[in-house]
């Protein structure tokens, strides 16, 4: 059998039928075979019914995003085939969870379709009929000649808390594998090749949310408060579950305003603190963000963007909150906005966010989106023993005597670099007033013109040192490109896939992992001497990143490739654009 170096797999069913876990387990089995994996989910904002799908793209050469053309589609309900016609061609195989299939009802379908009753396979093993989602894995393992042992371990681990379910599911997995083996022997299924097993399994398979969670835990985050809102909820769930393992308190607050204010209180009292929400919830937090700015309270905020405005499309992706995040909060104050791309970068920048917030005593926002926060992607295993130190704190934040004399401590002492060490409650002789009013060096409220200007200038002075520590723009691809695609956040995952294609040999990419403070100098250096057409690729309707670039750089000649229908970019669409200059009608080219 031929070696299969990449494969695109999808399962589609109603909400509640186990699509998410089936796709996650398939993705994990591919990762265990040593392959790169990207696992993208689509689901409606409801609990039962509606179409859900999980799709796993796995490849030896790297898999940074989802792919459209499917090798295998498993549908639990025949009618769902219609939803996936654009993803199927002659090479695709479709499995319908049914006893039979009438192809005459689908004249546009060119793929081979086979009806296999996965539910019956599950039931015959005495398992819950919902274990059809596990039967789908056994079937897939056989079709792509995957290691059944590996798949079996993945399934057993998933049900570690319920031994009976684990053993039943294992039976279902094997039964489906054997059932499919028979079909192949009978010639009803064609050989699809052997999915490569490198034998080197050193990667982690995590979502963007989980990667942020790992990053902030690594950074010694000790307090997270939030109100549930898709797609920020994943981080809340992850950190809440880790309360058993790490010295962190997670508080589900009564509303988003409470969530951010809990975090501000905890941070003032000396622990590293964070909150998170999506655009609507973050909108409620904005007054308090401004408080963090004026009072110089370290704070990390996740803004998990979904398609808006208002309630919008709760479970679909967008980057349309960029201008909002840039401008959130009344009055002038310094902030950092990190926009990680890959899951690995989510880990790295989450740790950095916690450190920068403390070091510079300001709000650091991590802006990400549903697409990458809820997708699984492989990343290298990080250093597992993470070290932390305190920054800009009186006595390194240790409680007890400050060593100062009475009245010597000034919380907001004027300094050239704008950072003044902060005391925390419990330190002797270091009383201070953290104040939402403009304040003097002790913290008492002031309306004095001179003191006001000094205080504003002091906070702004942090910029120059801060800028040295921010992640720099990333340049990939041709050194002498005809076209440069500029993006921020998750879009780089798709553009990297584009870059792997021979059609992309004359393009380059610039990814911005930090959009504010904008890296003007580094960005202009990357573009210096390049005679290329510039395309800003972003997930919004108005070209918000392009607008920011025009505001912060000398660049004026920018074109825009925009998508704002809740769906992620597809590398296939952008490659088609490279080939013939055409974008499909779900995109806007300006």
């Amino acid at each position: 059998m031929s070696e299969l170096e990449q494969l695109n797999w999808k399962i589609s069913a109603k909400a509640g039928e186990g699509v998410m876990s089936s796709a996650k387990l398939f993705a994990k089995a591919c990762k265990r075979q040593g392959l790169a994996v990207f696992n993208y989910y689509e689901y409606p904002s409801l609990i039962k019914g509606g179409l859900q799908s999980g799709q796993v793209y796995t490849a030896l050469r790297g898999a940074t995003c989802q792919q459209r053309k499917l090798d295998l589609l498993i549908v639990f309900h025949e009618k769902f085939i219609n939803e996936h016609l654009a993803e199927l061609d002659e090479q695709s195989l479709v499995i319908v969870n049914a006893n039979n299939f009438d192809s005459s009802k689908y004249p546009d379908l060119k793929s081979q379709v086979l009806a296999i009753n996965l539910t019956k396979i599950a039931r015959d093993q005495g398992a819950n009929p919902l274990a059809a989602n596990i039967a789908a894995l056994g079937l897939s393992a056989r079709i792509f000649a995957m290691d059944l042992q590996v798949m079996g371990r993945v399934v057993v681990e998933e049900f570690a808390k319920n031994k009976e379910a684990a053993s039943k599911n294992l039976l279902v997995l094997k039964a489906a594998f054997e059932f499919t083996d028979d079909l192949i022997k009978q010639g009803k299924l064609v050989d699809r090749g052997n999915l490569v097993n490198t034998g080197v399994d050193e990667q982690l398979l995590v979502t963007g949310s989980e990667a942020i969670g790992l990053g902030v835990l690594a950074a010694g985050l000790q307090f997270y408060s939030a109100y549930p809102m898709t797609p920020a909820t994943g981080l809340l769930h992850f950190l809440a579950a880790e309360q058993d393992n790490y010295p962190i308190v997670v508080k589900h607050a009564e509303d988003e305003i409470a969530a951010i204010n809990h975090a501000l209180g905890a941070s003032f009292a000396g622990v590293r603190a964070m909150t998170g929400s999506s655009g609507g919830g973050f909108a409620l937090m904005v007054e308090s963000l401004s408080f963090a700015g004026v009072a110089e309270i370290p704070l990390v905020v996740l803004e998990a963007v979904r398609q808006g405005p208002a309630t919008g499309l709760p479970t679909w992706t967008s980057q349309g909150d960029l201008n909002f995040v840039l401008g959130a909060g009344h009055g002038d104050f310094l902030r950092v906005i990190l926009t990680p791309g890959s899951v690995e970068e989510h880990f790295v920048l989450a740790k950095l966010a916690v450190e920068l917030a403390e070091k510079y005593q300001l709000p650091v926002l991590i802006m990400s989106d549903k697409y990458i926060l809820e997708s699984h992607q492989t990343m290298p295993k990080m250093i597992l023993s993470q070290q932390n130190q305190r920054f800009a704190m009186l006595n390194d934040g240790r409680l007890g005597e400050s060593g100062l004399g009475e009245g010597e401590f000034l919380r907001y002492k004027l300094s050239a670099d704008g950072v003044s060490p902060r005391s925390i409650p419990g330190q002797g002789n270091a009383l201070q007033l953290t104040n939402s009013y403009e304040h003097d060096q002790y913290g008492f409220a002031t309306e004095d013109a001179v003191e006001t200007k000094q205080a504003v200038d002091k906070r702004a002075a942090k910029l120059s040192a801060l800028q040295q520590e921010l992640p720099k723009p990333l340049y990939l691809g041709s050194k002498n490109p005809k076209q440069i695609f500029i993006s921020f956040g998750s879009t780089i995952n798709v553009l990297q896939e584009v870059l792997l294609d021979p059609l992309a040999s004359q393009i380059a990419l610039i990814h911005l992992p930090c959009v504010y403070p904008f890296p003007t100098q580094e960005f202009e250096v990357l573009l210096a001497g390049k005679n290329a057409e510039l395309f800003v690729v972003e997930g919004d309707a108005t070209g918000q990143l392009a607008g920011l670039i025009k505001r912060e750089t000398k660049l004026r000649d920018l074109r825009m490739i925009l998508r704002y229908d809740g769906r992620p970019f597809y590398s296939e669409d952008l490659l088609e654009f490279l080939q013939n200059g055409q974008l499909n009608k779900q995109y806007t080219l300006l």
Binding site: E242, D244, V249, Q386
Partner: protein, 286 residues
């Protein structure tokens, strides 16, 4: 560590309250209570709301947190969870705590967070020049309600008692000694304590002056049993009846932080992880 003394609590900033304002005596009572509790200067955190009462932030030396309007209690919850050895006190007005921040008040009661909340209740928004507040009487004529207030006053103490607050009391700015005792009891109570302090605003509330209060406040009778929740709620049904003292006290309920597993042995701040081992956290991702 310095003891709390009146001298140590003295701020260099002079109060900016109007002559005759009830805030003076409430601040005096608070300072006296802190002194009598024999606490250290660094053991107390006071969170301040926005309003005339919140301006106390400048008039007392302490670890202070001058919050946004309405949000102070949410900050206080975070402070207490980060370092539960601190005595956390919230000072705000009736507009701040019963209006803008009511959701946080209810949540703090439900959680029984160990915070002592003093509501400087003058029945007006005085810092914004005297509009009606959630505790103003129906019919009150003020700048924002020139035709008379249509709403009923809020039953804030009933809300607190019926939502889990462990200690609910009412004081009056004209009765200093009782105020001191109630504040001390509130700070010593392990759980959420709400002390509603009735106070005149001589500038913007001409109806409820000292003479009016002398006629309308009275102490709870000696036989009143504050452990009886139903009786407390009945006592509060008549919103015109300003009974003073501990209206309700529940000594059975644990404070929020006492139920958080992470905080069982040490405060959160004492557990800062200089080294983090990620092995457990990545278990499900390998």
């Amino acid at each position: 560590m310095n003891d709390i003394t009146l001298a140590n609590l003295l701020s260099p900033v002079q109060p900016t309250w109007c002559p005759g304002c009830g805030n003076f005596s409430i601040l005096t009572a608070l300072k006296q209570a802190l002194v009598e509790l024999n606490l250290k200067m660094d053991e107390v955190v006071i969170v301040f709301g926005i309003g005339c009462s919140g301006n106390t932030a400048d008039f007392i030396k302490c670890y202070g947190f001058h919050a946004l309007h309405g949000r102070g209690l949410a900050n206080a919850v975070g402070i207490k969870l980060a370092n539960h050895r601190q005595k956390v006190i919230m000072i705000g007005g009736d507009g701040d705590l019963y209006g803008e921040g009511l959701n946080h008040l209810v949540a703090a009661c439900r959680g029984n967070h160990d915070i002592t909340t003093l509501v400087f209740n003058n029945h007006r928004y005085s810092l914004t020049t005297g509009q009606t507040s959630p505790t103003s009487a129906k019919g009150t004529v003020a700048k924002s309600t020139p035709q008379g207030l249509i709403e009923d006053p809020i039953g804030a103490l009933s809300i607190a008692i019926s939502n889990g607050a462990g200690f609910v009391a009412r004081a009056y700015a004209g009765k200093l000694k009782q105020m001191v005792e109630l504040i001390k009891a509130g700070i010593q109570y392990d759980g959420f304590s709400l002390i509603d302090v009735q106070q005149p605003c001589p500038t913007f509330n001409k109806e409820q002056d000292y003479a009016w209060y002398q006629q309308n406040v009275f102490d709870l009778p000696a036989e009143y049993d504050p452990s009886n929740q139903g009786q407390a709620l009945v006592e509060l049904l008549d919103k015109n009846k300003l009974s003073l003292g501990v209206l309700y006290r529940n000594d059975q309920r644990l404070a929020y932080h006492q139920e958080v597993a992470t905080l069982r042995e040490k405060t959160l701040i004492e557990q800062f992880p200089q080294t983090v081992d990620l092995n457990k956290a990545i278990k499900e991702f390998v």
